[in-house]
């Protein structure tokens, strides 16, 4: 079996400037903070970050934002991180952030579609709003739906609660959120694990993400705190 266990620094080493990166977590609950810290240290720039929200300035993807590494942010909610509005409105061109807001359910499903080989899906969410701008409206049996396209990325940073050495992963409580879909929708998938165990120790009934999706595993993630 290929060794996937490495340090966070080694795990993020292949990530290049301009990469698109999915980051699991909801208000940083279920976000692999060690992997984010390693990315901050590496200093790669012009990243496209796909995450439910912008975290807060000192947590989750907020740390990448503070460090000026994000060019485009695709998220459903950014209201709890005041730096997003500051960077969207700045006159300093190199600090300028493009923020693309996507309804939360649409974001989750676009990532799911990206990881499951679908060409997109039809959702009633956003019909008649500015979210519908530029999108195809398709009427099915009398109801309008928007055609939403799949979302994929170069990299996914996933927070696992318990991960075995193959990469089979469980997610505790509400840390699950976007992690399972993101683990299927990126070329290079890193698990930041709270606990690493031997293969066979996790009951197969409880595995949510199969190790086949996982390229690298770094331990040492800690429980999250507000």
């Amino acid at each position: 079996m290929k060794n996937k266990i490495m340090t966070a620094k080694e795990a993020v080493a292949p990530i290049k400037n301009g990469a698109s990166i999915m980051v699991g977590g909801f208000m940083a609950c279920g976000t692999p903070e060690n992997l984010i810290d390693a990315l901050v240290e590496k200093g790669v720039k012009n990243l496209t970050i796909i995450c439910n929200d912008a975290g807060v300035p000192s947590r989750g993807v907020g740390k990448l934002l503070t460090n000026g590494q994000i060019k485009t942010l695709i998220a459903s909610h950014v209201g709890l991180n005041p730096e997003v509005a500051q960077r969207m409105n700045t006159d300093v061109e190199e600090d300028k952030l493009e923020c693309i807001l996507v309804p939360q359910g649409t974001l989750a499903e676009r990532i799911r579609a990206g990881g499951t080989g679908l060409g997109g899906f039809l959702t009633p969410t956003g019909v008649g709003t500015i979210v519908a701008e530029g999108k195809q409206v398709i009427n099915i049996d009398g109801r309008d739906y928007l055609l939403e396209k799949p979302l994929k990325a170069d990299v996914a940073l996933i927070r696992g609660s318990v991960t075995d050495k193959f990469g089979n992963t469980t997610y505790n409580a509400t840390t699950r959120n976007f992690n399972p879909m993101m683990a299927t929708a990126a070329e290079y998938v890193i698990i930041g694990a709270c606990e690493i165990v031997e293969v066979g120790e996790i009951d197969p009934n409880n595995v949510v993400t199969s190790g086949i999706f996982v390229d690298a595993i770094a331990g040492g993630e800690k429980p999250w705190q507000i």
């Binding site: 807001l101 939360q104 969410t125 505790n172 409580a173 509400t174 699950r176 507000i226």
Partner: protein, 216 residues
């Protein structure tokens, strides 16, 4: 007059029936759970991944892996389930949530809702609101009737929509209103206010129900 938010939350609670699956928005809507009668048990859905959410966690007893969609530490009830965000919004869009209760910046007489953006001023994002109001069987807006005197219940929304034609009911400290094809029908009026006062606080023209009762 008792606390305005409590008056609104207590009245909203009467709209919920035993067994309902309910998603409560952040802020005032969260208070609704405190006013349910003892014989009414609802199942709270939290869009970040819980069916069967319990009350906020006691200080010192928080489990840091369990939060609600407002990033507060919460508990779960016996029989609860966790799921990922794709499943969560499948539940929401699929019509499996009986009611969603949330606030608004503006609501209009066609049931259009605006609550996610003030262009140029405030761009927090829609979070799960667009999915919730489109998917839930009943959409109840719980809010103060005006924004410091400025109208919020309008003929036409001026802010960008969260969704069109989705609001079923508006509950404020002044009254209970239902959105109908004819317009906004005032069903209940709080005893502290007159019909003239509530109309003055509302840009849209209110249709007074022939069965108008006192809001309790």
């Amino acid at each position: 007059m008792a606390d305005i938010k409590e008056i609104i939350a207590a009245r909203v609670a009467k709209e919920l029936a035993d067994g309902n699956v309910v998603n409560l928005g952040i802020g005032l809507p969260t208070m609704v759970a405190n006013f349910l009668p003892e014989d009414v048990h609802i199942v709270l859905q939290s869009e970040n991944g819980i069916m069967g959410m319990g009350p906020a966690a006691e200080k010192g007893k928080e489990d840091v892996d369990i939060i609600n969609a407002g990033a507060q530490y919460v508990t779960i009830n016996t029989g609860a389930m966790y799921f990922d965000s794709a499943v969560s919004f499948g539940i929401i869009r699929g019509g499996h949530v009986d009611a969603t209760i949330l606030g608004a910046l503006e609501v209009d007489q066609h049931g259009n809702l605006a609550n996610w953006i003030v262009p140029g001023k405030m761009v927090p994002g829609m979070g799960g609101a667009m999915d919730l109001v489109v998917g839930a069987k009943k959409v109840i807006i719980a809010m103060q009737h005006t924004q410091k005197g400025a109208h919020k219940i309008l003929k036409e929304c001026r802010l960008p929509y969260t969704a069109v034609g989705v609001v079923d009911m508006i509950i404020t400290e002044m009254g209970v209103m239902e959105i109908t094809p004819e317009g906004i029908v005032l069903k209940e009026l709080h005893p502290d206010f007159t019909i003239e006062q509530i109309q003055e606080a509302t840009e849209a023209e209110l249709i007074i129900s022939p069965n108008l009762t006192a809001m309790k």
